[in-house]
């Protein structure tokens, strides 16, 4: 706060919240300015969506979502002190993400999850979600293909689904608020932060 206070050209309270590092914001909050001391219109929001809310699934059917939960657990279990996909609410996030995706990607997931259930029922007489690790492996492994070039997923629909799901379950877990929080709690340096580029001068809508 001292550095900002020493720069009279830009009063601290006028700096948009988004441009101020989180540490500065919390320090700012700790100073507990009285409402009278704050300029009118100064931002007050201090919470983060993913730190307070759990995603709610709305896109997949119940049986598809159950299969996705089991697949997420297998693809990204808790490892090395990091949360797994279930702790990071990845199946529910993917329900949202895939639900927003182009039709081709939606179809890839829906038919892929249905296929997991169909094969599980055929081979073991129960849905994919109820399979133990060894049984699930007997379904997943034959579906996998190597992906030597990450920009081109396999053509076979089953292999394509497995490759896409593996990538997206892994990324959504590592990019989660839970992963970040666990990294910070363990005293490690979080990775994955990048420079976000705001929309510049969007077209005037009148």
């Amino acid at each position: 706060m001292r550095t900002l206070a020493a720069a009279p050209a830009v009063p601290a309270a006028l700096v948009p919240t988004a441009l101020v590092p989180a540490a500065v914001i919390s320090e700012q909050a700790a100073q507990a300015q009285t409402p009278a001391a704050r300029p009118a219109g100064a931002p007050v929001a201090n919470g983060k969506r993913d730190a307070v809310g759990e995603p709610v699934a709305r896109f997949f059917t119940q049986s598809q979502l159950s299969a996705l939960r089991r697949l997420s657990e297998l693809f990204m279990p808790p490892m090395n002190g990091n949360p797994g996909a279930l702790e990071a609410h990845v199946p529910e996030f993917l329900d949202f993400y895939v639900g927003q995706s182009p039709a081709e990607h939606q179809h890839l997931y829906r038919s892929g999850l249905d296929l997991l259930n169909t094969r599980a029922t055929k081979q073991f007489g129960k849905p994919f979600a109820s399979l133990d690790a060894k049984q699930a492996d007997a379904i997943i492994k034959p579906m996998m293909e190597l992906v030597p070039w990450e920009f081109e997923l396999p053509k076979d629909p089953a292999a394509r689904f497995i490759a896409a799901a593996n990538n997206e379950i892994r990324t959504a877990t590592r990019n989660s608020q839970e992963w970040y929080a666990a990294t910070v709690a363990a005293g490690r340096r979080p990775v994955g932060a990048q420079q976000y580029f705001f929309p510049v001068d969007p077209i005037y809508k009148g």
């Binding site: 995706s101 992906v147 030597p148 070039w149």
Partner: protein, 524 residues
């Protein structure tokens, strides 16, 4: 009150337009620069965020920028919105047109690799018969390269090889080579391949853009006005003289239409945008060559090997890290027998890791493999030269317009057997070199991205001595209209394997000095 008539109207503000403004204002000419995009304040417009603090966990809004492989959720707002300024192509002939519309254009974000082209590219037809010779050689461009390198503050290591011409370099401290880079260097040298280092523009204060290296000096002369948010619809022509006399532009926000007057028009909107503007204006196409010979480089081929001694985090200090750059090393000798013409450069980077698709594993087993090879990988990738083809062209699609009612481009570009053979040769060569170092291949692909991906699209407005087979003369001046210049990459005759910015800038500098001299002598 009547509005001013400028000496020169410059359309576009990236490295080529910036160079034109820089040179022309220093020569005392009054210039107006129009750019289609807004001005960006990079310090204010960027903020560090965690991926989970973005709406889609950093995974990007699905389907938002289908042609921009480089886009992610952090940088998505950098690129031109494909719905706002669409283009069309046959689904069987994908083309990735990667565009930026801000003051400064793509110079705000470029990768800064700065290699000169050589006479193996300028005089390519003499070597392999693929395409045509440029009307200029490296010697013609050499002084302009040297001055451009000084502006960009390029660092590099001199090699004394004519196919990889040295430049006016700052001293570069690459540090000692790691043992893996040394090993692959020895292997390549034993095959007669030159191994060098990346040559990069340092710029100033971490930026090597038109907006900090070229435009401030031009503005300081008092001779330049820059108007952002001005989308040029067409070049206008004086009916009496038959010469360009200005342009009509649309205000990006209000869509009001305005006209500006100038004695000379310089296009610097980026190869394909400049060509689109000329096609929409019905100008500079007596040759029928406008829009033809669209090129860019072939990227994507990749071979990844794992160094056994470096696995499991066991690499001793000095084993991993750094890069080896192999400038084009095939088809340098006339008559050399290969399954393809032209060539490719190769970059071998030490110290990377694998991606999950290299293994048929998941969960903990996969993580063990990824951890084992993390930091232990050698990754070879290429910069391939595509062959110029008459058939690879852009035209106007009158049925589709952009958000300002301007007809869009239809892109019709495809690869041929030469590109596929080159990619295969590159993958095989990389695999062979990495294997002979005693390293294990984890992944090999000879696949590559669709045309356009390299963001080095050039051609479509090529230069030449013959007005029947080229659009511009060797001074980037229209054969048809002497007060009309195109100073961006549109003028390229071959694309080379080299990143195109340095050459574009040197050509823009040369063309601008010629233009200023011609105006001074009264020839224009």
């Amino acid at each position: 009150m009547p509005k001013p008539q400028f000496d020169v109207l410059i359309i576009g503000s990236g490295h080529s337009g910036g160079m034109a403004a820089n040179i022309l204002t220093q020569k005392g000419l009054s210039c107006l620069m129009l750019d289609a995009g807004p001005e960006v304040d990079l310090a204010k417009n960027r903020v560090t965020k965690q991926p989970w603090d973005l709406p889609f966990r950093g995974m990007n809004k699905p389907g938002r920028l289908p042609h921009v492989v480089q886009a992610n959720e952090f940088n998505a707002n950098q690129w031109v919105d494909e719905k706002e300024v669409p283009y069309t192509h046959d689904p069987a002939k994908p083309y990735n047109w990667v565009r930026v519309r801000f003051l400064g254009g793509r110079s705000l974000f470029w990768g800064r690799q700065s290699f000169r082209m050589s006479d193996w590219e300028f005089k390519a037809a003499d070597i392999d018969g693929g395409g045509d010779n440029w009307p200029i050689s490296h010697a013609d461009l050499d002084p302009f390269y040297a001055r451009t390198e000084a502006i960009l503050r390029v660092s590099g290591r001199k090699e004394g090889k004519p196919h990889f011409p040295d430049g006016n370099f700052l001293d570069a401290d690459y540090g000692p080579d790691s043992t893996t880079v040394k090993k692959i260097t020895d292997i390549a040298n034993a095959r007669g391949y030159l191994v060098s280092k990346i040559r990069a523009a340092n710029g100033r204060n971490g930026l090597a853009s038109s907006t900090n290296l070229l435009l401030p000096d031009a503005v300081a002369t008092g001779k330049l006005q820059i108007v952002p948010n001005a989308i040029v619809r067409e070049i206008t022509v004086d009916k009496n003289t038959g010469r360009a006399n200005g342009a009509n532009f649309v205000d990006r926000h209000s869509r009001e239409e305005l006209h500006v007057k100038a004695k000379v028009v310089v296009l610097a909107a980026g190869s394909l945008e400049s060509t689109r503007l000329l096609l929409n204006s019905g100008l500079a196409n007596s040759s029928g060559m406008l829009g033809r010979y669209v090129m860019d480089q072939l990227y994507g081929v990749q071979v990844v090997a794992s160094v056994p001694e470096a696995r499991g985090g066991n690499a001793p200090e000095g084993m991993m890290g750094g890069t080896a750059l192999l400038p084009r090393f095939k088809n340098l000798k006339k008559g050399e027998k290969n399954s393809f013409i032209k060539g490719y450069g190769m970059l071998i980077a030490s110290g990377g890791g694998p991606t999950p698709g290299y293994f048929k594993e998941y969960g903990e087993e996969l993580q063990k493999k990824l951890d084992l090879h993390a930091g232990a990988c050698m990754t070879a990738s290429i910069y391939g030269e595509r062959v110029p083809r008459y058939e690879n062209r852009v035209t106007i699609n009158k049925a589709v317009t952009d958000a300002w009612g301007i007809p869009v481009l239809h892109v019709d570009v495809k690869d041929t057997q030469n590109e596929y053979n080159m990619a295969k040769d590159a993958a095989d060569t990389a695999e062979d070199m990495l294997k002979s170092a005693g390293w294990d291949i984890l992944s090999k692909t000879d696949k590559f991205h669709p045309p356009g991906y390299s963001i080095h699209e050039v051609g479509s407005c090529r230069m030449g001595d013959n007005p029947k087979t080229s659009v511009l003369n060797k001074w980037n001046q229209s054969h048809d209209m002497k007060n009309l210049f195109v100073v961006d990459g549109g003028c390229f005759v071959t694309c080379g394997w080299q990143n195109s910015t340095l050459t574009i800038m040197a050509l823009a500098m040369r063309a601008s000095e010629y233009l200023a001299d011609q105006m001074k002598s009264g020839a224009i």
